[in-house]
């Protein structure tokens, strides 16, 4: 079978979806997908260096820059999931009572309970900053209750669990996360929390050795009805994690 290298973010890997998709890909198009699980920035770097054939990330601005620099020819949206606000069960900030994510963050910003931020420039981190801005806060001015941990989604959740802190996570990572401790899902559902994943094949003109044909094949599969069925059908504890939204070409 052919092998293709795909760099993905930790949040995608942590969701467990890969364990469903990869065997199906192998079966359908006889392709071994080798996943490199790294930070968003590192995934884009691997693509820029031509060390992987394609990337699957969720950080629109960075993706567009990647395409603008001609490292990729286009980005193809595949699916989305959503971000959720996690926090301690007793919810001192009252996030659970909020009616929008902006309100939820306002409550946090005012009460100043422990809050863990990814702090690693990842898609999730960028989203979190954008949400704070939308709620009229500037995270750069926050005091010590706002902890930038500079780590991946799983590590950050571990830290939040240890600190009994609030954190913004993607739903997939949260559902798959084993060390929930005293944490619980407090707020979800605002449209502002949508999290779009996109597939970018590395530009073969820049990197002649990349296996663009395989990347195209993979992209075709990921956007196929078969993928839609698997992605939409993937659940944990009865909850759907991802929504397929690739547009046919």
């Amino acid at each position: 079978a052919d092998e293709i290298r795909l760099a993905v973010t930790t949040s995608f890997e942590n969701s467990g979806l890969a364990d469903v998709l990869l065997p199906a890909i192998k079966e359908d198009i006889d392709l071994d997908v080798q996943l490199l699980v790294v930070g968003t920035g590192q995934a884009l770097r691997l693509g820029r260096a031509g060390d992987v054939d394609a990337i699957l990330v969720h950080s629109r601005a960075a993706e567009e820059a990647f395409v603008a620099e001609k490292h990729g020819t286009y980005r193809r949206e595949i699916m989305y999931n959503d971000f959720v606000l996690i926090g301690p069960k007793d919810d001192p900030a009252g996030v659970g009572k909020a009616r929008s994510v902006a309100e939820a963050l306002k409550r946090v910003g005012v009460t100043k309970p422990a809050f863990v931020s990814r702090g690693d420039d990842s898609g999730t981190h960028k989203k979190e900053i954008a949400l704070w801005r939308a709620a009229d806060f500037d995270p750069a001015t926050f005091a010590a209750w706002y902890r930038e941990v500079g780590a991946g989604m799983g590590a950050s959740l571990n830290t939040a669990a240890g600190l009994d802190a609030y954190i913004l996570a993607d739903r997939a990572s949260w559902l798959n996360f084993g060390n929930k401790a005293n944490l619980t899902l407090l707020y979800a559902g605002d449209a502002a929390l949508f999290n779009q994943y996109a597939f970018l094949a590395v530009n073969p003109e820049k990197h002649p050795h990349v296996q663009n044909d395989l990347a195209v094949k993979l992209e075709a599969w990921l956007t196929s009805p078969r993928a839609a069925e698997l992605i939409n059908g993937y659940t944990i504890n009865g909850e759907t994690l991802f929504t397929f939204n690739a547009k046919p070409e």
């Binding site: 790294v38 995934a43 702090g119 941990v149 500079g150 780590a151 830290t159 240890g162 600190l163």
Partner: protein, 234 residues
């Protein structure tokens, strides 16, 4: 390749401009690693020496175990310390998780077997030399250990430096128990891991070069202070 060059350049600028963040995390790195080194040495030097001088039933087993513990995966040490120190763990009440203290504890666990093993090896020769005399003088076990450590202090340098090296370069454990929290528990290695994850390889390398320079500086200082080689044979 370019990244390496850029890394060197930005390392240079970070250092000459006395970058405040860099200073802070460098100092924290040093503080954590040196404290861990002192504590681990205080345990490991006598322990390794004891194993060199004392024959007991399960001695070989203990030594094999110690050697094996040199291979303790830092991530696992980090996890166990995390579990013990977490709120729901037995030592949760002390609130040590995500503090430099927790990082020191993890590093002590990691480097103690290494220092003890090297100490054991270094002390065996000296003990073979001193064995008859110290037995003849009817010394107690503790007196023997003190004598060997003192007269073999130069041989123990490598043990301690190896421990320091492992501590200052370690990232897996302290990431878990320290949390890499900005302005609180971020040290050089966790910062490097962070920048690597961000894809900012040049900055990661710059920090790496600073760390290596720090390690080299400390080693040269120590060698100079102890004059290890100065009095050696020609």
């Amino acid at each position: 390749m370019n990244d390496i060059y850029e890394g060197l350049v930005s390392a240079f600028w970070l250092v000459v401009t006395f970058d405040a963040d860099l200073m802070e995390i460098s100092l924290r790195s040093l503080q954590v690693s040196l404290t861990a080194l002192v504590i681990a040495s205080a345990i490991a030097l006598p322990l390794g020496t004891f194993l060199a001088i004392r024959r007991f039933r399960y001695r070989r087993l203990v030594i094999s175990l110690l050697n094996a513990l040199m291979g303790l995966p830092p991530v696992v040490v980090g996890l166990i310390v995390y579990i013990l120190l977490s709120r729901s763990g037995p030592f949760g009440v002390f609130g040590l998780l995500f503090t430099p203290t927790a990082m020191i504890i993890a590093q002590v666990v990691i480097i103690t077997p290494l220092i003890a093993s090297i100490t054991h090896q270094a002390m065996r020769e000296l003990w073979a030399e001193y064995h008859d005399l110290l037995i003849s003088l009817n010394t107690s076990a503790w007196q023997r250990i003190k004598t060997l450590i003192w007269d073999g202090r130069r041989n123990l340098l490598t043990a301690s430096l190896a421990g320091f090296g492992r501590a200052i370069g370690e990232v897996g454990a302290i990431m878990i128990v320290g949390g890499n929290i900005d302005n609180a528990t971020r040290v050089l290695t966790t910062a490097i891991a962070l920048e690597t994850g961000k894809g900012d390889f040049a900055l990661a390398l710059a920090l790496g070069f600073v760390l290596i320079a720090l390690a080299i500086g400390i080693n040269i200082c120590i060698h100079w202070l102890s004059r290890t080689e100065r009095e050696g044979r020609w």
